[in-house]
């Protein structure tokens, strides 16, 4: 069995199964957590609370104006690399192919040159964010191994993907195997660390918004 066959076969299957088990474990553990009882009467009914939750999901994308001067750089860099990841994942032809293989959904892809440029910008913004994390005293204090591991496991697929698109070193087969394996490592880690925010960020904001709305606070 070659490295590519291993990556596309057993490693792929194992990583998907670990992802499924991990996400189920994480969600059930959160749903069943004990919650503080709400004694106050709700200010708003359920429809308004759902609206408040949806509004919070959107409004939290843009920080309050008062914070802008201090966090503008990190917000722009974060937005750049998140949008970059989105373009790479949903615009790259091989990625669309994988999605189509498992869901049947498909859409036109972007030219490889565009994906390569976006990958470069994404990598640069990720490196800048890491440097900021290492240099900012508060951020450095708050950072745990989870932050650095999560950064690395996102960085590696983008890096190997960029090398693969240019077929720079090691040959297509080896680079493809390394790229798939790096994605699988990310997929395995996703439910257990901060990468889970890929899904939970929306659930968290939504629930917080609903709670604010229940209390009659601004969302």
């Amino acid at each position: 069995m070659t490295l590519l066959e291993f990556a596309r076969g057993p490693a792929w299957q194992a990583s998907v199964l670990i992802l499924i088990a991990g996400v189920a474990w994480r969600l059930v553990a959160m749903i069943l957590l004990r919650r503080r009882p709400q004694f106050a009467a709700p200010r708003h009914g359920l429809p308004q609370r759902i609206g408040g939750g949806a509004r919070t999901i959107l409004t939290r994308f843009m920080p309050r104006r008062a914070f802008w001067p201090r966090i503008a750089v990190s917000v722009v860099l974060s937005a750049t690399f998140h949008i970059g990841l989105g373009v790479i994942i949903f615009g790259g032809a091989p990625h669309i192919l994988v999605i189509r293989q498992f869901t049947g959904l498909s859409w036109p892809s972007l030219p490889k040159g565009v994906i390569v440029i976006v990958s470069g910008v994404t990598l640069a913004s990720m490196i800048a964010l890491l440097l900021r994390r290492l240099n900012h005293p508060v951020l450095r204090l708050l950072s745990t191994a989870d932050d650095y591991l999560s950064w690395l496991l996102v960085f590696l697929p983008v890096l190997t993907g960029m090398l693969l698109s240019g077929e720079t070193v090691g040959g297509y087969g080896n680079l493809l195997a390394l790229h798939i394996l790096s994605v699988e490592l990310m997929v395995i880690w996703l439910p257990f660390g901060k990468l889970m925010h890929a899904g939970l960020v929306f659930a968290g904001r939504g629930l917080m918004g609903m709670n604010f709305s229940r209390k009659g606070a601004a969302t």
Partner: protein, 362 residues
């Protein structure tokens, strides 16, 4: 062509009797040097060496195979100088082609080995079954395994022709009932050139033979013992549809607009990016076409274990599905683990709640 009287056994003399002049031989040498990625200046030397070269004995053994390799090499094109090269080698034993049979054929083999000890080239097509002492493929009552060991012992070099001889090929595919292996798995002490392909590109064999006859040594090989000049690049690297891959233009089905436009076949399972061969540059049938040019993706037939390397129509980007049953089991395990973790957290919280605070103590 000027041929000295004592040079009548040379390739130059033989070609002269067939009306092939020095200029034609030089053109052939230029083409061979070019295909072998040799510098242009080597061609005259190659032509001179070819003209002076003498017949070299080749013993060809066919093992567990379909004869497709031999057919391809024999029917590659109308008579050309390539075939004269084949004529020039002394093919002393080839079961499919020789007139002799039975004991006479066996005697031919033994005579050829005795007469050319340590000097003959051994060409092999087909894999070698090793299970149960190799009883699954016999010639004259002897197993391929025993024949290989005997004949390889006195060979100067071995050419493993076709994917079966090189890597085991289709006979080695799961579940490999005969324990088939390639030549390099059994012979460790002889120079081996693998010329894989199902079938292999005939011009590659011509090139390797021309190089060997010209320079008395084997060409540079890659890590899988394949001639680097022919197997150094992937089909993908040499493919005329590569530009469409770079532009993100893919055929989604064999009958869609993309296929009609000749766009990249990556999505339809083309294995060109992981396959090393000369199909896209040398092509087939006198340079007429190759599978991708005919509208079908490369199936990677010159790669080891190509038959077991996923579906021919599954793209390289995709992986194999885990199946709903396995996904369900994984989800159930996750739900049980999550529920247990939540209950443990609740129980811990209850203990904390029931523990009286220090100021509450009497």
């Amino acid at each position: 062509m000027d041929v000295a009287p004592d040079d009548k056994e040379t390739l130059g003399a033989m070609l002269a009797t067939r009306g092939v002049g020095r200029r034609s031989l030089l053109k052939f040498a230029i083409a061979m040097a070019s295909s072998l990625a040799l510098p242009p200046g080597v061609a005259p030397l190659m032509a001179a060496n070819l003209a002076k070269a003498k017949r070299r004995s080749v013993i060809w053994l066919s093992f567990q195979e379909c004869t497709g390799c031999v057919e391809t090499l024999l029917r590659s094109s109308s008579p050309t100088i390539d075939q004269l090269i084949f004529d020039f080698i002394s093919l002393d034993y080839q079961e499919a082609l020789m007139a002799a049979a039975g004991a006479a054929a066996e005697k031919t083999l033994h005579d050829a080995i005795a007469a050319n000890k340590g000097e003959y080239l051994l060409a092999i097509d087909g894999s070698i079954p090793t299970k149960d002492g190799g009883v699954y493929s016999l010639t004259g009552g002897r197993s391929n395994l025993a024949m290989l060991k005997d004949v390889a012992a006195d060979a100067k070099a071995i050419l493993a022709i076709g994917t079966c001889a090189a890597f085991g090929g289709i006979p080695k595919a799961f579940p490999n009932p005969t324990g088939a292996v390639g030549v390099e798995d059994l012979v460790r002490d002889k120079p081996i050139v693998n010329i894989p392909g199902c079938p292999p590109v005939p011009e590659v064999l011509s090139g390797v033979l021309a190089y060997f006859i010209s320079f008395g040594k084997l060409p540079d090989l890659d890590d899988r013992k394949r001639p680097l000049a022919y197997f150094g690049a992937t089909i993908h690297d040499q493919c005329y549809r590569r530009a469409f891959y770079d532009q993100g233009k893919f055929a989604h089905a064999f009958d869609d607009e993309g296929a009609r436009q000749g766009w990249c076949l990556f999505e339809l399972g083309c294995k060109g990016p992981t396959t090393h061969n000369a199909c896209a540059s040398v092509k087939w049938n006198n340079g007429t076409s190759f599978p991708i040019q005919s509208g079908h993706g490369c199936i990677g037939c010159s790669q080891p274990d190509f038959w077991d390397a996923g579906g021919f129509y599954t793209s390289l980007a995709g992986g194999s599905a885990t199946g709903w049953r396995n996904a369900g089991i994984a989800a159930a395990v996750g739900i049980a683990g999550g529920a247990a973790a939540a209950l443990a957290a609740r129980s811990k919280a209850k203990d904390v709640d029931s523990t009286p605070a220090p100021e509450d103590k009497p």
